[in-house]
């Protein structure tokens, strides 16, 4: 990993998650109709942390699910490696709910497009709102996040790496040079 800068450190990440939790609650007026859906892999852990925060603030636990969008991707023909798929785990009914879709980095918007299709196949939610830890720009589709942890203007030759304790052993966000 060719690191250019550390953008968010452990404390910063914790504060960002707290703010995102408050923003979600504020916009939805503390509604108990919200459900959190984390997108594999790192969105899942961010969603779980937001869930914990919301339970602390509101004293109730929102429903929580995990979405795997591999089957909805649009790049099966162009990718060099076959993507690994894992299981979507959403055990509640999404009809009429307010869904908060959570991911680590928003970039081209193609993963979010896939996620929207995947959620729609599970039912007809009331609303779908998008929450991302980092928005790095360069959208290829008309998609915009409702809740953003941090806007990081990047060049195409850079990458944003979110590292989380649950799988990477540390909490941090790095700006790195893309491998050639």
């Amino acid at each position: 990993m060719d690191i250019k800068a550390k953008i968010i450190d452990e404390q910063g990440l914790s504060r960002t998650i707290t703010r995102l939790a408050h923003e979600i609650l504020e916009k939805n007026k503390g509604s108990k109709n919200i459900v959190l859906i984390g997108m594999r892999t790192r969105g899942e852990f961010i969603a779980e942390r937001i869930k914990t925060k919301i339970s602390e603030i509101e004293k109730y636990e929102p429903s929580f699910g995990i979405l795997d969008v591999t089957l909805y991707r649009d790049d099966f023909r162009t990718r060099l490696k076959q993507p690994e798929i894992s299981v979507t785990n959403i055990t509640f009914d999404v009809n009429e709910r307010d869904i908060i879709l959570i991911d680590d980095v928003l970039y081209t918007g193609r993963t979010v497009r896939a996620a929207l299709d995947a959620v729609m196949d599970l039912g007809r939610p009331n609303t779908i709102q998008l929450c991302v830890l980092v928005d790095r720009g360069h959208r290829e589709l008309p998609i915009k996040a409702d809740f953003v942890g941090k806007n990081i203007p990047t060049s195409i030759n850079e990458e944003v790496r979110v590292r989380l304790k649950e799988i990477d052993g540390e909490d941090a966000v790095y700006l790195v040079n893309a491998p050639k």
Partner: protein
């Protein structure tokens, strides 16, 4: 992770990692099958031909459903309504279908080796849906999936295949697959139905259904295939049931923890008593559901391979 071969011709020689990948991938599709909209766009734009030279309901419907649920375009070919009747050779038929630009071919044929032959005359990914008395790999895979779903593992399990092993493609695919996954395999049946030298595949041979029930975790009970002339190898169906039929009395006497599998269609009162076929020890309908998930997994892994 990708499979190591771009065709699925059989489970013979398929490495453990590949089988593991297919079974794990099927878990994803098992979840898709529980959704209100049981369809994902993954194989959009891929064309798959189902080339069925032999009758089949379960396997053909299962493959067709799997293809539709992955959003592939499908064409069904069956001999009764095709130019095979006009004398067209197999090779010419395949060449013509190939010229229509298909991506995958699912083939069932009464002759062993036809899927292998297809790989030489076609560029498509070939999936064997049963070739003669050789192999039926997706059935072997769905049997293993169903066992793993119930018992949590395959390694170290004792599995006995009961019936006309000599004329069963299900038996052979099960033996290869289960052995690769580290299970202990036994075959059980009358001597006329057990091929000579089958021990060389690393399986044990027994001739008592009571022993089979008492000493195994799983029984995969094969169908007595009258269309494959099973009648000449046993005195009568009634006698077969008396000596080799799986009945509730036998299960309750020897092993109440046994898991019963059957590839269908069941001959009630022959290999299984009706009570067992509907009873608490069997997972026959789960096998059918899992079959769609397994076929989706195979189609996905081969269809998105580079």
């Amino acid at each position: 992770m990708s499979l190591s071969n771009r065709h699925l011709l059989g489970l013979y020689g398929v490495p453990k990692e590949d089988i593991q990948l297919i079974l794990d991938t099927a878990t994803t599709f098992r979840e898709v099958l529980e959704r209100p909209i049981k369809k994902v766009p993954t194989l959009q734009g891929k064309t798959i031909v189902n080339l069925f030279y032999e009758n089949s309901t379960r396997t053909r419907i299962s493959f067709e459903l799997a293809q539709k649920r992955l959003s592939a375009d499908t064409i069904n070919f069956s001999t009764s309504t095709s130019s095979t009747k006009k004398g067209e050779t197999f090779k010419d038929t395949v060449r013509n279908i190939e010229a229509m630009k298909v991506d995958m071919i699912v083939v069932r044929h009464q002759s062993a080796g036809v899927p292998q032959y297809l790989t030489r005359i076609s560029k498509a990914n070939i999936i064997n849906a049963g070739d003669g008395i050789h192999e039926h790999p997706t059935q072997g895979l769905l049997d293993m999936y169903s066992i793993r779903e119930r018992l949590g593992r395959l390694e170290g399990l004792k599995v006995c295949i009961v019936g006309d092993v000599a004329h069963s493609r299900v038996a052979l695919s099960n033996i290869f697959g289960l052995k690769a996954m580290g299970a202990q395999v036994t075959v059980c049946g009358p001597t006329t139905m057990i091929p000579i030298g089958i021990e060389s595949l690393g399986v044990k041979v027994i001739h008592s259904i009571d022993d089979a029930i008492a000493n195994n975790d799983v029984l995969n009970v094969l169908r007595i295939q009258l269309e494959r002339n099973a009648g000449v190898r046993i005195p009568s169906l009634r006698e077969y049931h008396q000596y080799f039929g799986v009945t509730t009395e036998r299960i309750e006497k020897y092993n109440r923890d046994i898991l019963i599998l059957h590839p269908g269609p069941i001959n009630r009162g022959v290999e299984l008593s009706s009570e067992v076929a509907d009873g608490p020890y069997q997972v026959i309908l789960d096998q059918v559901t899992n079959g769609v998930a397994i076929r989706m997994a195979v189609l996905y892994l081969l269809g998105t391979m580079h």
